[in-house]
Amino acid sequence: MIEIDKSEHIIRVVRRHWFVLLSDIFVLAFLFAVPVIGLFLFHLVPMENILIFTGNQAYAVSFFLFAWLFIVWIMGWNMWTDYYLDVLIITDKRIFDINQKGLFRRESSSFRIDKIQNVSVNQIGIIQTLLDFGTIQLETAGEREDFTAGFIAHPYEIKRFINESQDREVERSQLVHLVPDEKDAVTRSGSHAEKLTGQDDEGR
């Protein structure tokens, strides 16, 4: 359901660098460790006074452990989906910026590739340089705000790719503009010839 025309083709999908997932990974690692902390507390606090097990306690503990891991697993997939659907789609005509924020908030904006006036890349700091990610800024013609995408992997390569795509699109649009002119010229010369022929006929 990405709003792409039928004549349009996706030529590249750009995702953010895995570094943005690092904070999510830390959160998941902590949540994963919660049962260990829970088991420690279980020994610290006299839980046998509070919880009354009617069956084998080990099975009940393993049930809660797997239930918790199942919840953490779901949370992990939620984080992954958020990352996976946050993309920059480059087609042969336009660039789409899709921002997925949670499961029920999605922002999508697009602009024509031939309207780009300048592509700039910012890589700040040792981490961005070593891991090769940064911010791409696209300046477009018109009153529209500049487009900025952060944490993009291999930004210089993407910049080169956008520039090449833009060159191709500009060349193509120039060709499209040339063709009708040529047609007009042919039509005009044809009608002129007819006129001349008519004049010839009248002259005879």
């Binding site: 919880l51 009617t54 009940a60 797997f66 891991l69 199942f70 697993w73 939620n78 989906t81 996976y84």
Partner: protein, 83 residues
Amino acid sequence: MTPPAILSTINIQIAVSPFFLFVVGALVIAGWLVFTVIIRYHWKNYGTGGMQLFAMNFLYISGSAALAGLMILSAVLYLISAQ
């Protein structure tokens, strides 16, 4: 008075019956089902790349089945041990 000592004085008792485990398990699985419908809709409609989506679906379903299976198995074993 240390916190565990305070807790030992509290007179709250929760019975962890097999029924309680099955109710908790059913709630978790119901939540998973709702979440699965939502994220698979997102993957199907907004995802890009067929093979990647297939791998994601496979990993998600197989991992979920394993965890749900272990959870249910634990509940069943608890039920058997309670009888």
